[in-house]
Each structure stands twice: as structure tokens, then as C-alpha cells.
Symmetry: C2
Subunit: 254 residues, 2 copies
């Protein structure tokens, strides 16, 4: 019996990371010596591990985490978590002397504009990303503000910081993105940087690094970076910034 448990555990442990689809299809349940974990507990650990960048490059969330993710997003914890992160960014900003070329960089999707209306129709990340469907949704220009980020955005503006939006959205979405930002309450910005489809970069991390390098060359001081993806926050050319990771338990962009 002990050997069998060991064998099962070994197969589980070896098989898990080999799945291209990451967590989705593989049962997370493992004999642990302290009993089975409930989905709620396991998925809270999944979520924490995503936020602390311990779980990376997952293509879908585990199937058993659909309901816990839904509960998290729609309950008060997600908003509280967003609030705490935005507060920290504001506290940090409010302690600084503001120079005229100081910028805060914000991502767009799931940082200032919520894409939860899209994801709630697509299993909160359990389905693999479908660019066509997602683009259709983006092109509606109907994404609401993430309210805690909107508050922080307004506070940073009133402190005198300039705002740069830096997104992986392609340039053909410029008009709809501008309109959506304004509709959601983000009325002003120093720059809105979308991705030139001719620009070849290996991933979002290097694209965002390259765009930040441009900003530094233009004479801006990057004071803070706020995003829902680690690829917004890691990489080069971060200037003297502190970075702030907003919660996103639904997907990962490399």
C-alpha cells in the first residue's frame, strides 16, 4: 500500500509539469500525509503561488479552481486585494517629491480596464486563450474600470504624476482603446503605447522592457509600474521604479 501510494505520488509529481495545458487536466489531489486538501484550500494556494510568481506560464487554471476563482473574483476579497495594492502604490508615490517628467506606467487589461466580463463567460481562465473571441470583446470598447485602480489613477494625477499606459494590445485597437479608457473614467494620459505588429519580440516581458527603454530615452523617470502580470513588472529598463502587482488569478502572460 505504501509503495502504491508512493508510485501514484511519483506519477503525479512527474506527470504534472509535463502537461502543456499546465494545471487544467491534471488532478491536483495528492496524498500529502495531512489529508486531502479541499479545492477551496488548494485553489487559494494556487492563487497565492501565482501572485508570488511561484507558479508561472500556466495556460489554463485547474478545472477544480473554476468555482473558487469565480467566488474570489465576485466576492469582496478580490476588490480588497486590488485596493491594498493600489494603496501601497499611492503611499509610495505620496512620499516622493514629484518631478515634471515622473511617470507611473499602468498596463491596461485587468489593470485599469476589467476583462472580467469576458472571462466570466469563459470559465475564469479554464479555457485556453482564444485571441479571436477576445479581440471581438475588446473591440466592443465596453470594458469597465477596475474601481480601485481608477481611484489610485486619479490620486496619482492629483499628486502631479504623469500616466503612461503600456499595453500588449495591437495598434489597430488604438481608437477603441482610447474611447474605452475615457468611457471608463481614465480621461488623460501622457502616452498610450500599444504594440506595433511589425515589432518582433520574444514575449511581453521583452516588449515592455523595450518600450520602457524608449521612455527612459525620452527623458522620463519611471517612478512606478502597476500591472497584473509579472511580465509588466520584471525585465529591464525599470528606471528607479517600485513595482506593484495587481491580482490576476485567471491567466498568465509571459
Amino acid at each position: 500500500m505504501k509503495l502504491f501510494v508512493f508510485f501514484v505520488a511519483a506519477v503525479v509529481l512527474v506527470a504534472w509539469p509535463c502537461h502543456g495545458a499546465g494545471y487544467q487536466r491534471f488532478p491536483l489531489r495528492m496524498k500529502t500525509g495531512y489529508g486531502e486538501r479541499s479545492s477551496e484550500v488548494k485553489c487559494a494556494s494556487f492563487r497565492l503561488a501565482v501572485e508570488a510568481h511561484n507558479i508561472r506560464a500556466f495556460k489554463t487554471i485547474p478545472e477544480e479552481c473554476v468555482e473558487p476563482t469565480k467566488d474570489y473574483i465576485n466576492g469582496e476579497q478580490f476588490r480588497s486585494d486590488s485596493k491594498t495594492v493600489n494603496q501601497q502604490a499611492f503611499f509610495y508615490a505620496s512620499e516622493r517629491e514629484v518631478h515634471h517628467n515622473d511617470i507611473f506606467i499602468f498596463g491596461i487589461d485587468n489593470t485599469v480596464l476589467s476583462n472580467i466580463p469576458y472571462y466570466e463567460k469563459h470559465g475564469y481562465g479554464v479555457e485556453e486563450f482564444n485571441e479571436t473571441l477576445y479581440d471581438e470583446w475588446v473591440n466592443k470598447g465596453d470594458a469597465p474600470a477596475l474601481p480601485e485602480t481608477l481611484k489610485n489613477y486619479n490620486k496619482l494625477l492629483s499628486l502631479g504624476f504623469k500616466i503612461v499606459f503600456l499595453s500588449g494590445r495591437y495598434l489597430d485597437k488604438m481608437a477603441v482603446t482610447e474611447a474605452n479608457l475615457k468611457k471608463a473614467g481614465f480621461h488623460t494620459w501622457e502616452q498610450l503605447i500599444l504594440k506595433d505588429p511589425h515589432l518582433i519580440t520574444p514575449n511581453a516581458l521583452s516588449y515592455k522592457s523595450a518600450m520602457r527603454e524608449n521612455l527612459l530615452r525620452q527623458g522620463y523617470r519611471i517612478v512606478g509600474i502597476i500591472g497584473d502580470q509579472w511580465s509588466d513588472l520584471l525585465g529591464d529598463h525599470r528606471g528607479e521604479s517600485r513595482t506593484f502587482k495587481l491580482p490576476n488569478p485567471m491567466y498568465y502572460i509571459e
Copy 2:
């Protein structure tokens, strides 16, 4: 009324980050527009923000987070969170070809040896750190293993990785640390690096970077770093490692 609320909020927002003691003395309650957050919700956000490195350099946890932290540590979530992080480290390790000079670096306190027995007598981080009392406790040599890390340690050893313990404990604790590690089930290691009190470094981050530089010079390949503090995981000379952040909602070491 609206103005009054705004004024209170402004005072709260400005006053909060000015406290030397960080979160402790200041009421976290704020009018948010979506109702008051309970301590449970706020402290879960505090914890998440600490793990994702959004909250830094706190000297004590907020007073209202003592009970939620106690519940978290003593409930199954803390252990589940530790398990998930250790699993990720193992999955990552198991996909690599092992070279004879490949090492995993582990911290000691709250990474392999639990200091929860100490912290549960000191408010789970609500009291400012008392080096004398903590040293007395360390010198007992009675710290238990963190069970999920112990499992992972044994698995990494059986994959063929070498283990280096790198700790901010001072060199005078070498004997008690060796004995405590063995007593807790950590029977072997490639190196156990404690801090030379004559070595002056500005903080733990630079101390750990310097020690890693030594390891790289000695020809080791740093494959993974596992610690409960961001100062274990950030900084220079990380080789080709992936890093793994174990949960610690109780204190922060710069």
C-alpha cells in the same frame, strides 16, 4: 459630509505610510465606497500583498491581523501554501538534467526550520523584533522542520541536487544550527553558510548576493533558491536559478 469623508480619507492616506512601525498602530479601516472591510478580509489582503512583494519593509504586522494571522498559520491554508510552493520547486527541478555541481539554496529560519513556536509567543509578528529573545530561542536548538520543505529537500537530494543552507544567523550559532537541522531531519548539506559578524553588508539582500557570488566562483551552478523572504530571492548572482517564495505573513527582512 462628503468633504469630511474626503478629509478623513486624506489624513488616513497621508498618515499611514509615515509610521515608523509600519502597519501596527494605524487603523486600517477606511471608507472605501464599498463598505468597511472586515479584519479577516483586510488581513488576507495584507498577507497576499506581502507575498507578492507589494508591501515591504514592515516592522510589525497590523494589530488587527494578529488573530487572522494566527488562524492562517494554524489552519490548513499555511501548510497548503507551503506545499504548493515546494511542489513547484520540485516540478521545476525534476525537469532538469542534474549536473554534479548543481545546488539548491535554502534559507533556514521559516524556510526549513519553523520559528512559529517563537512567533506564537510574540503575537505572530505584532511585536517588534527582539534579537536577544529570538537568539535565546534559536540557541535552544529545538526548532521543528517545516514539513513540506523537508519533503521537498529529501526529493531534491534524491534527484541528485546538492543543498546549500544560506542563513543570516551569525557564525556563533554554527553548532546549534547544525544540531537543530539534523534533529529536524535535514541530515546532509553541501555547505552551511552563516554570517560572519565582521562582514559588513547594508542588508540581508546584499549579504545573500555576496554569498551567492562566492558559490558561483567556487564553480557551483545555482539551480534554485527557496526562501521565505524576498531578500533571499532578489539581488545579484542568482545564476540560472528559479526562485521560490515560501509564505511568511509575520515579518520582513530587508
